[in-house]
């Protein structure tokens, strides 16, 4: 074998080795890069200053936050990170100190939260209302009723399927209060015509649409919900369907790491003129979804 051929073979082998090494190390580098990649800079994530807002699925899913929060961030440089859960869970997160501000919709729970010292003070922010929706066929014949508890009683009487959140959310608690007013113990019916999803509003609506069932939903979520099937609003306008939202700063005396200053700035803005105007200007399909009512 001539020297040239041998040398050529060695060169080929070296090149192959080199290519392999490059391939291997590039995979490694890619992995490391992917791992260390900073979250892409966006207005929400950029600032070192941010607060965590524990809120409800109704406000997040309707698109309200996407509409108003950028204005607050633009003005103050404070990003707002929204964790959207049911009211009960949002308050629990706040109780653990894992949020700086809560914005929820169950007045008595909010007041208890403050009374127990977890929150500083509750302030009115806005309201909308609940609507009772159901299939177009309306087997319980409640369409057009103004009396929500009466409609609930009729549903129970006909045994038409009703889907409940069953997740201790503000909507769930409002619904339970309406059953109470109607004088019906739904615990007994659970699993028959009364179905508890234990899930968020959207999931519950998807189930109602699939089952052709009645359910209670806040107007904001309903307006922005896309998978309606043949569901429609059947009962609305009862004053007992009123759905007020309150905002509370988590008590910094209990949880020293709470960003009290930024949290207060947010609450002041939200309940101030600018925030209230921002809420009022939010539209879903041309309809106003939330009505500001801060004093």
């Amino acid at each position: 074998m001539s020297c040239g051929i041998v040398r050529g073979m060695i060169a080929v082998r070296l090149m192959r080795r080199w290519a392999w090494t490059v391939l291997r190390s590039s995979v490694l580098v890619a992995a490391v890069l992917a791992a260390s990649l900073p979250a892409r800079v966006s207005p929400q994530a950029a600032g070192a200053r941010y607060i965590v807002l524990a809120s409800t699925t109704s406000t997040e899913n309707s698109g309200l936050f996407a509409h108003i929060l950028p204005r607050f961030t633009a003005k103050t440089g404070i990003a707002v990170r929204v964790v959207a859960k049911g009211t009960g869970q949002a308050l629990r997160i706040a109780r653990n100190g894992d949020a700086d501000v809560v914005l929820v919709h169950h007045r008595s729970a909010e007041e208890r939260f403050v009374a127990e010292g977890h929150g500083v003070e509750r302030r009115d922010v806005m309201y909308n209302d609940f609507v009772l929706i159901g299939p177009a066929g309306d087997p319980a014949a409640i369409h057009g009723l103004r009396d929500a508890p009466g409609a609930f009683a009729q549903i129970a009487a006909t045994g038409a399927p009703f889907v409940s959140r069953g997740d201790d959310s503000g909507t769930h608690r409002a619904e339970q209060r309406l059953w109470q007013l109607a004088g019906i113990d739904v615990r007994e019916a659970s699993g028959t015509w009364y179905r508890e999803t234990g899930a968020g509003m959207g999931t519950t609506l998807n189930i109602a649409a699939a089952m052709g069932a009645y359910t209670l939903v806040d107007r904001g979520t309903w307006l922005s919900f896309k998978n309606r099937g043949d569901l429609r609003i059947l009962v609305q306008g009862d004053r007992r369907l009123f759905n007020p939202y309150g905002v509370i700063l988590v008590n910094p005396d209990k949880h020293p790491h709470v960003k009290a200053e930024e949290g207060r700035a947010f609450i002041d803005w939200l309940t101030g003129e600018e925030g209230q105007l921002a809420i009022a200007s939010f539209r879903v399909d041309g309809q106003q979804a939330f009505f500001p009512n801060a004093r």
Binding site: L23, R40, Q44, A66, F225
Partner: protein, 234 residues
Amino acid sequence: MSDSITAFGRAWALIAAADATLIEIILLTLRVSVSAVAVAAAAGLPLGGALALYRFPGRRAVVVALNALMGLPPVVVGLAVYLLLSRSGPLAPLGLLFTPAAMIIAQIVLVTPIVAALTQQVIEDLWEEYGEQLRSLGAGPGRAVFTLLRDARYSLLTAVLAGFGRAIAEVGAVLIVGGNIAHVTRVMTTAIALETSKGDLALALGLGLILIALSVSVNAMAYGIRDYARLRHG
């Protein structure tokens, strides 16, 4: 029906437009899952290898437990990590809740048992072939574990990929500890869950298609590398 047809359209439109939010979500998804799998592999590979070779009292129980942990419910893991990282929990000072780091931790917990259990099986099989030779050469168990891990590296890729698949497809745990915060902790699966709950099923399905494509391409890449290397190394 129409949803599934529009889903392709929506997915394609998002990709074609290189939608900034979508890219951000994809990058975060990869960052979280790749980091989690890297850590899980660093821990799970030696752990599985050691379990395959070392004999100690209670080993069977550990192996059974490990295999059971492969099916760990993500929601439980999410809850446990949440309680750990919460401001009321033992790791409160880290302030990691609702950050990508918390999601990585949850996924590490989910993925490590998968990598370890699959590694244990692979290494045990390989030990059948190598055991006598390695013992004859005087390799202690520690050295033997690393020799076997090295020689089984292409088979172990499958174990790591199984872990990656679990991590990237998981929603329960990251939703709880990440909070699905827009631009901060929103990954593919939580975005899909969100769009589903908004009733935008076409968009949700579209995102799902993109996630599947993502997962398939990572796997295809890994298997491609493995096959090439097998051909070369015999």
